[in-house]
């Protein structure tokens, strides 16, 4: 069986894999303590026998016995602890290092200040209790931790890795449903089924080829032609006029995604710290028409900052302001007293330009103010502007969550100093609610507090919610079943090869 892939941007170590290309292989190679259900992202135990806590701060984790790495060694508690310590330790330069930031002692192994040397090699919050049990102490209560450990950097690493990291990189050994066979850069990653795999997400096919494509276009042609078996996303040209439906028939897959697109209105841009202007812009975007035309029905309008399908989603948090209304928009705009030109900045590649240009045109039409799309050549160039707080107007502000939790849609983006709070939004009342929610041990109680924060934040319109992508994928005629997950990848365990 073969699936669509892109060239990994880092080596295939779990803690160093933070992008889609590498995730494909790493997801299949390693299994973590918990897995996510494809439909809604709720967690279930994989390598973990049990995860218990009384205060959302100290977690006791027991492992299932009899699980093996691909080299035949047992998966033990120390494999998790060592791997997490390796991932967090600054000199190892793992890109996923910030994921461990909640664990006690993280600041000692990866100091926040530039140039400071770490004072410890291991996080004090991790403690091996027995061969199959370990204890995790966090800096403070953090109820989402049980979801977070399903994310890639929290994978275990076998002893073989620590013995010879270089050789391991060339031929990774994991504990997942598939084992590594070979890799040709820019072309192919070959995996095969691991016979001793114990998890319930066993795969039902023998080999997996992750074919590297530089364009979705070609991949799609191969998919239709039966040379490729699965794609988790389809190219824009296939979506125009619902072409994919006629090409693939009932082999189109749909899923809710963990992403949301908003238009950031940075507070540091002169004149933008103006609620009436924010309201005017929010009202001036014709979300329905844009999603139906320019976005070819592959996106749906949103009505809040948390997309549907997330546990904790509430409808209509943004209220009337996220509904197109030309007259009211004009009214608020006059009230705002804003003069000058509006711009929306984004990287122009990857189909980012078209919907935002359309949004700009919609704003221009409704408000009678000049609006222009300003494109950077690629994502890197765009991020440099955003990271350096050098935006001179509105910007694309898309977020795709790391794990399915309402927390991950609020904390990084809207908490003061959040890791992706690109608009420099800051509201102490919202911060307080978020902190309270983080520290609530009971998951359902925590969600309620997050919802409260969400509703409060909505009054400030920290960014303008616009749309959310619908997951649209497809599989070839060689398969009889496939499933797309909320993370926009294939649920390999659900794939069935024909015949």
């Amino acid at each position: 069986m073969s699936i669509y892939g892109t060239e990994p941007k880092a080596n295939l170590l779990p803690a160093n894999t933070t992008e889609a290309g590498g995730s494909k292989a790493v997801e299949a190679l390693y299994t973590r303590l918990v897995g996510f259900k494809a439909e809604d992202g709720s967690t279930y135990n994989l390598a973990a026998e049990s995860i218990t806590t009384s205060d959302a701060k100290v977690y006791t984790i027991k492992l299932k016995q009899g699980w093996k790495f691909h080299d035949g060694t047992d998966v033990k508690a120390k494999n998790f602890v060592d791997a997490w310590n390796y991932g967090a330790y600054a000199p190892n330069a793992q890109q996923g290092s910030p994921f461990f930031a909640q664990i006690q002692g993280y600041d000692d192994v990866s100091p926040a200040t530039e140039g400071a040397a770490p004072t410890a090699e291991k996080m004090s919050g991790l403690e091996v209790v027995g061969d199959y049990e370990f204890k995790v102490t966090l800096k403070g209560p953090f109820s989402v931790f049980t979801s977070q450990i399903g994310y890639l950097p929290f994978s275990p690493l076998p002893d073989a890795f620590f013995a010879d990291p270089k050789a391991f990189e060339a031929k990774p050994i994991g504990n997942g449903p598939m084992k590594f066979v070979s890799r040709t850069p820019n072309a192919l990653i070959k995996l095969e089924r691991f016979a001793d795999y114990q998890g319930e997400d066993k795969v039902h096919f023998k080999t997996l080829d992750i074919k590297i494509y530089s364009s979705q276009e070609t991949a799609y042609q191969d998919l239709v032609g039966g040379k490729l078996d699965f794609m988790e996303a389809l190219p824009p040209s296939a979506k125009i006029g619902d072409k994919h439906k006629s090409d693939l028939g009932d082999r189109v897959l749909n899923a809710n995604l963990l992403g949301i697109s908003t238009i950031g209105v940075p507070y540091y841009v002169p004149g933008f710290d103006n609620l009436d202007l924010r309201k005017a812009i929010a009202l001036a975007i014709n979300r329905d028409q844009i999603t139906k035309t320019v976005l070819a029905n592959s996106y749906a309008p949103v009505d809040g900052w948390v997309p549907p399908g997330i546990d904790g989603y509430e409808p209509n948090v943004c209220g009337d302001f996220c509904k197109y209304d030309k007259e009211k928009a004009k009214e608020y705009f006059t009230k705002s007293g804003f003069t000058g030109k509006l711009t929306i900045q984004s990287n122009a590649d990857g189909g980012r330009k078209e919907p935002l240009e359309a949004a700009c045109n919609s704003i221009k039409d409704a408000l009678g103010v000049d609006c222009e799309f300003v494109g950077a050549t690629n994502f890197g160039a765009f991020r440099q502007i955003v990271d350096g707080q050098q935006l001179t107007g509105m910007s694309r502000s898309d977020w795709s969550a790391d794990y399915p939790s309402i927390e991950n849609f609020l904390n990084p983006m809207y908490k003061t100093g959040g890791s992706s709070n690109d608009t420099t939004y800051s509201n102490p009342a919202v911060d307080a609610l978020l902190a309270k929610a983080d520290g609530t041990a009971d998951k359902n109680e925590a969600i309620k507090v997050y919802q409260e924060a969400h509703r409060l934040m909505a009054k400030d319109l920290p960014s303008i919610p616009v749309w959310t992508e619908k997951g649209i994928g497809g599989y070839s005629k060689n398969l009889s079943a496939a499933k797309l997950t909320f993370k926009r990848d294939g649920e390999l365990a659900a794939f069935r090869v024909k015949g």
């Binding site: 330069a93 290092s97 820019n186 072309a187 994502f379 890197g380």
Partner: protein, 310 residues
């Protein structure tokens, strides 16, 4: 001859150093942060930046960086990318495809171009002549990506379905590369046709041709042996130079047809700021290009006895 070759080789050195240094400086001395966007939606961890800066000598002054880099290249080590993939290995996977595509393009342009040129050169001013003249000008004027897209659209599965436009990412078959090869070679093909045509037309009245005809040799032999052999000298040198350019990879054609060759490798390298890939590939390409132009000059001397290099 030996001295000429030696002198040319020596002259290559400053050109090689100049070109590679310019590219190196452009790629690395950019006022851009090479780490922006490397780690997704978040800025890269400080530790990662420190380790990578160390690895690529970012903290050294530029000329020193360049020297260190070239020192490695000379020993055959093109370095590793940010993701730890060896650049040498990347080149090794991508280059065969590019060479294959270049050869196919060359064959197509030589075959069609020379045929059209000979036919029209022998019979100037006819309908065929005008047709070839106009269509070659048209081909020359058409940007390659337009030719590529239009042919892909109308000859591919969505149009007449004559060609399978999918090209395998490793080791593509000959059949898969015919259409891209045609597109890549189309402009040069037009030029080959025009060059052959004027060369044949010029030589047709040359003394040696008249002599051959006067001696009563059959037209076939006159055209095939005397006329063609002499007229094709400039064409062959043109094809030689062209092969040198084609080996440099075809960023646009490879992009249109999604061919996994050296052009795509460079393009992605620049887009993703994999400077090490870009400098590595460019260094090699410049070398190939310079050597090819030297070979072409020598070829010219071998083919045309009137030219002597001192």
């Amino acid at each position: 001859m030996g001295r000429y070759v030696l002198r040319r080789l020596l002259q290559l050195i400053p050109v090689f150093i100049g070109t590679t240094f310019i590219i190196y400086a452009l790629v690395w001395a950019i006022p851009q942060d090479p780490f922006a966007g490397k780690c997704g939606q978040r800025p890269c961890p400080e530790s990662y930046i420190a380790a990578m800066s160390e690895k690529f000598n970012f903290d050294d002054p530029l000329p020193l960086q360049y020297l260190k880099y070239m020192g490695n290249v000379v020993t055959g080590d093109f370095g590793d990318t940010f993701s730890g993939i060896s650049v040498g290995e990347q080149i090794a996977t991508a280059y065969p495809t590019t060479v294959k595509l270049a050869i196919i393009a060359l064959l197509i342009e030589a075959l069609i171009g020379i045929t059209a040129g000979v036919l029209t050169g022998l019979r100037k001013q006819g309908f065929l002549d005008n047709l070839v003249l106009v269509s070659t000008l048209f081909l020359i004027s058409l940007p390659v990506f337009v030719t590529g897209f239009v042919l892909r659209l109308y000859l591919g599965p969505q149009g007449l379905d004559l060609f399978d436009v999918g090209v395998d990412s490793t080791d593509p078959t000959f059949a898969q590369l015919i259409l891209p090869g045609f597109v890549l070679g189309s402009t040069s093909m037009a030029y080959v046709a025009r060059l052959t045509r004027s060369s044949i037309a010029e030589n047709r009245h040359a003394d040696y041709v008249r002599t051959a005809i006067a001696k009563g040799q059959p037209t076939r032999r006159v055209v095939g042996v005397h006329l063609l052999r002499n007229s094709l000298i400039p064409v062959i040198t043109f094809l030689g130079t062209d092969l040198g350019s084609l080996m440099g990879g075809a960023i646009v054609t490879e992009g249109v047809f999604n061919i996994n060759g050296i052009g795509g490798l460079i393009f992605r390298g620049i887009q993703e700021k994999e400077g090490i890939t870009v400098t590595g590939v460019v260094t090699m390409l410049v070398l190939v290009y310079l050597l090819m132009s030297l070979v072409v000059d020598l070829l010219y001397a071998v083919l045309d006895p009137r030219i002597r290099y001192e």
